[in-house]
């Protein structure tokens, strides 16, 4: 079992108290992006391109501006020129310049005294287009004769002779592939595709922005990262980041999609033009699906060799992933690094192509790149296991990485828990349930790196000995609860005596967003450092009072104690007593910590799914579902389970039903929830979980991020289960009823 060098003797960690924001969220009081209003506020609407690729010849806003109550129109001409690199792409995505690059690309925005008026005005803005040939499919976009989306997009990595939309090529590996394949008893080679999916957060993007002619501004916005919003909006608008104060609202889901900007600079630009009146902009669902961060679509080749005993001797992948019309957005690099991360394979090769297409600019989506990679690789592992009649868990245990293994992407793994998740899956009753006709079981494992990231936290002791913690990572799934639990544990005070606030950009140094499964890891680690600073100061105050050396004071159970008999005989001095006197004993007591923490331990997981396939319709029903995943340490186990279950549900949606559908005209055909159908309650069974705890040595309590890994295994696990049930191997997502039925019929 797990090596466990870190204490397990906790008072608060591992308990499941009510989350601090629970009451606000069950009563409708919690304020999300669209719930915020200001006096004298205007409302905005956006004009979007109806074409996948078109030259913008002329924008005429005169009819809109003639309407009474319309206060400002902005187009690209209102934004500064001369930007380069990612800043330019962000600006280009905020408002199209010479060309509209995808269906839904913003072209102009208008602000008026009511939402209805703004909508009317938007319809009166006339845009003249010259429609250009487009391409939305990744393989077609790779072709040499594909329409050129951005001229000269290729960087130095792209060899001569590639198509015009290949922006980057990545290549890395180790060992000797041919020697590896020669050792294998079976070598298979297959191709797989996945369609783009959307994060599908239920809350559309929303912001209220205000900016005066002096360039000073404020913004209230639903985001995973207020400092990223500040930096990116300022770059797009040509303003000074320090002059923009960004306050995050409660956030109605993000999953990576709210780590960047889409429309956020527009209310600021409109406000600046409308004499500094605040402007509110809320996206519609259709705008969200057409113009905000879906993930990439992928086309992938895998080759793998296996010995009869299950040893994987060599493997290679070639991944082609489109990330929309700008370089840098496709997660192909991460996908390559994740592809074989679960396996210790001596001979490996990875090749990846980042491809531009006339689709929206990709944003991060939960373990970006990893689910697609897992779909291809974990399907292939299953194919080989079936051919050699080997148990899929045993083969993964045999080849699985462990402490000291050289990761497929380079570094050596420290303490990790892949094997423990496999053992937990094998031992779970679900793995022994007898299956009936048309039923099948699938297994797959998954991986995510996890991330540290720039972090700044402040902790202050209140006059009554309670504590407030200011963090910069928006609470997207219970992180206020986990950080409060760790604070209570560190200070030795009750959970209820801690308040965790998510603060605006003026209150702390720069924080990266809640991304990379980092909030509980990084803000928690920084809180621990800050709390220990405060503890040191409180010990000093007690030492002053007792007139002994501060080094002779220790902190235990929320009070200062003399370190031993030699220190003297004093009654412990509680945090409450120290806090009550702090004004007279040296002033406020607080702690701060700023760093970019390393040591974010990777999290591995293994999923086991049973499905039943209706042979007449191809409909797949998920009968039971098991997630086992390494949390390092589960601070609030219910919310850890919630991450596992939520990740699995998104993965099930991706596997079975979700996907962007583009017409021949390059327009998105399913831009409402009726047609882009995410899993509903009646589609899913209960989702069983096992929290494996192999503590992360890089965190004071052993925490690993848990948010992302869970979306990775469902794609291949379900494909493997469908194969077990029907004998049909589906190598394209989504595996919806028509696709499954066609695959069954193709076998006959």
């Amino acid at each position: 079992m797990a090596k466990d060098e870190i204490t397990k003797d906790f008072k608060w960690i591992g308990t499941t108290p009510d989350r601090p924001d629970g009451l606000d969220k069950v009563t409708g009081r919690a304020r999300y992006g669209a719930d915020f209003n200001l006096p004298n506020m205007l409302y905005a609407a956006v004009v979007r391109s109806p074409h996948a690729h078109a030259k913008i010849l002329k924008i005429d806003a005169s009819k809109a501006l003639a309407l009474k109550g319309v206060k400002a129109v902005v187009t690209r001409a209102d934004l500064p020129t001369g930007l380069t690199g990612e800043d330019l792409y962000l600006q280009e995505n905020t408002l199209a310049g010479e060309k509209a690059l995808y269906d839904g690309h913003a072209v102009a925005a208008v602000a008026a005294t009511s939402q209805l008026l703004a909508n009317d005005a938007a319809r009166l803005i006339e845009v003249e287009y010259e429609v250009l040939p487009h391409v939305t499919d990744v393989d077609k976009a790779m072709a040499k004769d594909a329409p050129v989306i951005l001229p000269d997009c290729a960087d130095h990595t792209v060899p001569e002779g590639m198509g015009p939309n290949v922006a980057r090529m990545i290549e890395f590996g180790r060992g000797d592939l041919e020697a590896g394949y020669a050792e294998a008893d079976v070598v298979h080679e297959q191709s797989y595709t996945t369609e783009a999916t959307h994060q599908g957060y239920i809350e559309p993007h929303a912001a209220v922005g205000q900016m005066g002619s002096d360039g000073k501004g404020e913004m209230w916005v639903c985001t995973q990262g207020q400092w990223f919003i500040r930096k990116m909006c300022s770059a797009v608008l040509g303003t000074d980041p320090a002059q923009l104060r960004v306050t995050p609202s409660e956030i109605g889901g993000g999953f990576g999609g709210k780590t960047t900007i889409f429309m956020e600079p527009l209310p600021l630009a409109l406000s600046r033009k409308a004499g500094g009146r605040p402007v509110k902009l809320v996206m519609s669902r259709s705008d969200v699906l057409r113009a905000t961060g879906p993930t990439a679509s992928a086309s992938m080749d895998v080759k793998m060799g296996m010995k009869k005993d299950g040893t994987i001797t060599a493997a290679e992948v070639t991944f082609r992933m489109q990330g929309g019309p700008f370089p840098g957005a496709s997660p192909v690099g991460e996908a390559l690094s994740c592809a074989f991360a679960c396996y210790d394979i001596p001979n490996l090769m990875h090749v990846g192509y980042e491809v531009l297409a006339n689709r929206p600019k990709c944003a991060a989506y939960r373990a970006p790149g990893s689910p697609m990679a897992a779909y291809a690789v974990e399907s292939m592992v299953d194919e080989l296991c079936r051919e050699l009649s080997l148990d899929p868990i045993d083969v993964r245990l045999k080849n699985g990485v462990k402490e000291g293994s050289r990761a497929s992407y380079g570094p050596k793994f420290k303490t990790i828990g892949l094997a423990e998740t496999l053992e937990a899956a094998k031992a779970h009753p679900n793995y022994a349930v007898k299956l009936g006709p048309n039923q099948g079981r699938g297994v797959a494992s998954g991986f995510w790196f996890n991330h540290g990231g720039e972090t700044s936290v402040s902790l202050a002791i209140s006059e009554d000995g309670t504590a407030q913690v200011s963090v910069g990572t928006p609470d997207i799934g219970g992180s206020r609860a986990s950080i409060a639990l760790m604070t209570a544990e560190t200070l030795g005070i009750p959970y209820e005596n801690v308040r965790v606030n998510i603060v605006e950009t003026g209150a702390l140094g720069v924080n990266e967003p809640t991304h990379g499964s980092r909030a509980t890891f990084a803000s928690g680690k920084a809180m621990w450092e800050a709390a220990n600073q405060a503890i040191k100061e409180m010990c000093k105050r007690a030492a002053q009072k007792w007139d002994i050396d501060p080094e002779a004071v220790t902190w235990k159970d929320g009070a200062a104690h003399p370190a031993g008999d030699n220190a003297g005989q004093f009654e412990p001095m509680s945090i409450k007593e120290i806090a009550a006197e702090m004004g007279k004993t040296g002033g406020p007591i607080s702690g701060h910590h700023e760093s970019t923490p390393s040591g974010a331990g990777p999290s591995f997981g293994t999923h086991v799914v049973d499905v039943e396939v209706d042979p007449e319709t191809g409909r797949v029903t998920v009968l039971r579902y098991l997630v086992t995943q390494d949390a390092g340490r589960a601070i609030h186990p219910q919310y850890v389970e919630g991450q596992y279950q939520g990740g699995a549900a998104q993965g099930i949606g991706w596997a079975l039903n979700e996907g962007y559908i583009y017409g021949e005209d390059g327009k998105l055909q399913n831009s409402v929830f009726l047609d882009y159908r995410v899993p509903v309650a009646s589609d899913l069974p209960m989702i069983d979980t096992v929290i494996v705890e192999v503590p992360n040595p890089g965190h004071p309590f052993g925490v690993r991020g848990v948010g992302e890994t869970g979306i990775t295994p469902p794609l291949p696990a379900i494909a493997n289960a469908i194969h077990a049930a029907t004998g049909a191997r589906l190598r394209a997502l989504p595996m919806n009823p028509p696709a499954v039925l066609a695959a069954i019929k193709a076998m006959a």
Partner: protein, 159 residues
């Protein structure tokens, strides 16, 4: 377009507002009555985040026009714990960690309350099918279903 005067009973209180005939009930609740607990996730009746009770019937308020509600009785999430004491469903949602981001939560609570008023002892399937009009992207529904089951059991015990 000229606005119309609407009088309705919302969470037991008589309210008045002027509605543009194009505004939905959801717009009116949020923008004219400052009841922002009901959320707009889609505007097409697919996500259930705007669920309210209209004359005793569960509806997505984004598919009702505000001007249709003259004389109507409306209950929203803000009316679920009128005296401060939480409804058992609200308590069980917190206890079971049945929310992560919380954006869909008001709609789920209103819909689940409507279910339990109709059927105090629903099976897991009945809960899942009743709540199939409410999208949650965070939880995978497991803890939501358990919270509703637990609240139903408690309410039956209390009855």
């Amino acid at each position: 377009m000229s606005k119309m005067h609407v009088t309705a009973t919302v969470n037991g209180d008589e309210v008045e507002f002027l509605a543009d005939p194009r505004e939905t009930l959801l717009d009116c609740l949020r923008d004219h009555l400052d009841l922002t607990g009901s959320k707009e996730g889609c505007g097409t009746g697919d996500c259930g985040a705007c669920s309210v009770m209209l004359n005793g019937r569960l509806v997505p308020s984004c598919l009702v026009l505000g001007v249709e509600t003259d004389g109507a009785t409306i209950e929203t999430i803000e009316g679920m714990a009128p005296e401060g004491a939480l409804h058992p469903l609200q308590r069980k949602f917190i206890e079971h960690a049945a929310l992560q981001c919380g954006f869909c939560t008001p709609g789920f609570l209103v819909a689940a309350k409507a279910l339990l008023e109709k059927n105090p002892d629903p099976s897991e399937s009945e809960i899942r099918y009743w709540l199939a009009g409410n999208l949650c992207r965070c939880t995978g529904y497991d803890k939501i279903v358990r919270a509703v089951q637990d609240a139903a059991a408690e309410m039956r015990g209390a009855a």
